[in-house]
């Protein structure tokens, strides 16, 4: 039973939130010409680390705002909560972001040249 500090509303019970799974997934556009297999990485593959995990949450029963969270999937420690569109600042969060295989996917590569952010990182 997590106690989550909503960046806007303060600490609230886990039951007020919904979890949106892995954060920082670049969404490919139809025009990106990814192969079906590369597109499948975006559609189906989700990181599933044992340890630090960067994920998206929404304060569903409160302000309805999305935010990012760095959470340990073993200890359930919440290391960092940070806004959509940002990357983590904590050491553990940064490492989790940098080390994820997601950084090497075709979808992410395709998303980068576009100056407008097209990723689930938000703008």
């Amino acid at each position: 039973m997590l106690l989550i500090t909503c960046p806007h509303c303060g600490p609230r019970e886990e039951s007020e939130f919904s979890c949106g799974g892995e954060a920082h997934i670049a969404r490919p556009l139809a025009e990106n010409n990814l192969t079906d297999a590369e597109f499948a990485d975006y559609l189906f593959l989700r990181d599933n680390p044992k340890g630090m995990f960067l994920e998206r949450w929404r304060h569903a029963a409160g302000c309805r705002r999305w935010f990012n969270m760095a959470r340990d999937t073993v200890t359930h420690e919440i290391v960092e909560i940070y806004p959509m569109g940002n990357t983590p600042k904590s050491k553990a969060g940064k490492a989790a972001h940098a080390d994820s295989w997601r950084r090497d996917t075709a979808a992410e590569a395709a998303a980068k040249p576009a100056s407008k952010s097209r990723s689930k990182q938000g703008g």
Binding site: A40, L43, L45, N48, T73
Partner: protein
């Protein structure tokens, strides 16, 4: 799907181990049970095996057993980090059924059902497979329609399924509340009479004993630390007890599949989530079947010991902690009391959590990988226990022949690239 009886291979204990029977019990009682053999040897790891199965749960042990019993592969090791059956095998609500909607699912679960039906005799170990029926309740017009779809499909797949009305349900389950004015009235249900429950630990122990009898080495307290490859070919496993050479590795490590896959640089489309269950204190029998309800999100049965066994769906976020969130049991219990008011004065005795690996389509992976000789069997979500024998049987076949049979083929990893999913999500609601 396959209708033929699955090849059950060598049955009983051809290796010559002491057999279990009422007679044996009586005989051993004479000297106070002092000379019962070990159910399985505590084998030290040898330097090389034909096949190494990683994971000593029900699926892994069944795989090893069928490798030996059906395919005659005797140099097989099962490597387990902790103790046999310590993962989801010993943490589920023991429900067995094969009344699935999609043909691919019906095929593998029915394959398993047929193996369940002879398991105690095959293994000479009473796994207490109790075909007391699994009754799924519909609480709305929408659910009645879904139920009809499901029952028609199940029946045309040659699997038993009967539709019951509220009155028949009440006769079958006297403690159920069929008042039509409640929030989720019991409007109907469908029953698989061949469904039921089994004693979960016994499944692991029974397979372990029978596999051991056929020469399989069962190695507990041995952690895999790496998968050694030569190019794209597996050549062995690194373990906490040394390197073991092998050209075939079957990974069956529910709850840790992603971690194991990462050792071979493979990514699996899995999410590891807690699945919670609980039991009440034991009471005299009041519920002699299994009841499932998607709308109120709960399933329940009464164990032979008398405990009411309750489960529900998986928790909402990833975790490897074998612990879930309190609203899940809270709701599960409210739903049980709503459906069976008499349970109000019972008490929760034990509560626990497992870690289930779930695929985006809520169907498992039984597959070869990009690495030659490395096979994965995972992603069973909440359906793992009931599939145990079928899963082990087809996985053994895949490993032995290096190609999937018709039952396993739809469960290959490449479905996530093509998008040809076996989408039990849409239809499953509450899985288990």
């Amino acid at each position: 799907m396959a209708t033929d009886q699955p090849d059950r291979g060598l049955r009983g204990l051809p290796g010559g181990k002491q057999k279990y029977s009422a007679f044996a019990l009586a005989k051993k009682a004479m000297n106070y049970h002092q000379d019962w053999q070990c159910a399985w040897r505590d084998a030290p790891p040898q330097s090389e095996y034909d096949v190494v199965v990683i994971g000593g749960g029900g699926h892994g042990l069944a795989t090893a057993y069928y490798l030996a019993a059906v395919h005659g592969i005797k140099r097989v090791a099962v490597i387990e980090k902790g103790w046999l059956g310590g993962g989801n095998t010993g943490r589920n609500t023991t429900i067995i059924r094969s009344n699935y909607l999609w043909d691919e699912s019906a095929a593998i679960y029915e394959h398993a059902m047929k193996l369940w039906e002879g398991m105690s005799q095959d293994l000479n170990f009473n796994v207490m497979f109790s075909q007391r029926g699994v009754l799924t309740i519909a609480h709305s017009e929408h659910e009645l329609r879904e139920m009809s779809r499901r029952v028609h499909a199940i029946r045309l797949n040659g699997i038993d399924s009967d539709i019951l009305g509220p009155k028949e349900i009440k006769d079958f389950v006297p403690i159920i509340n069929i008042d039509q004015n409640i929030r989720y009235p019991v409007m109907g249900g469908f029953l698989q009479k061949r469904g039921g429950t089994a004693r979960h630990d016994a499944v692991a122990w029974g397979y372990a004993r029978a596999a051991d009898d056929l020469g399989v080495d069962i190695i507990q307290n041995c952690e895999v630390t790496g998968l050694r490859r030569n190019g794209r070919r597996i050549v062995g496993v690194e373990t906490s007890r040394g390197f073991i050479k092998t050209r075939k590795v079957g990974c069956v490590v529910a709850g840790h599949s992603s971690v194991m896959a990462a050792m071979a640089d493979i990514r699996l489309p899995l999410a590891s989530r807690p699945l919670q269950a609980l039991v009440s204190e034991p009471i005299k029998p009041v519920l002699d079947t299994v009841i499932m309800s998607n709308a109120v999100h709960m399933y329940i049965s009464q164990s032979d010991k008398g405990e009411m066994v309750l489960g529900a769906g998986v928790d909402k976020y990833n975790s490897y902690a074998q612990r879930g969130s309190f609203p899940v049991p809270e709701h599960m219990i409210a739903a049980a009391v709503e459906l069976f008011p008499v349970l109000s004065r019972l008490r929760m005795l034990r509560h626990w959590g497992g870690i289930v690996d779930t695929c985006p389509d809520a169907s498992p992976i039984i597959s070869k990988t990009d690495v030659d000789g490395l096979y994965f069997n995972c992603g069973w979500g909440t359906g793992g226990f009931k599939a145990t024998p079928g899963s082990g049987h087809v996985f053994a076949d895949l490993i032995a022949n290096d190609r999937p049979n018709s039952i396993a083929a739809p469960y290959a990893l490449d479905r996530f690239q093509t998008g040809l999913l076996i989408d039990e999500h849409g239809a499953a609601g509450v899985a288990h």
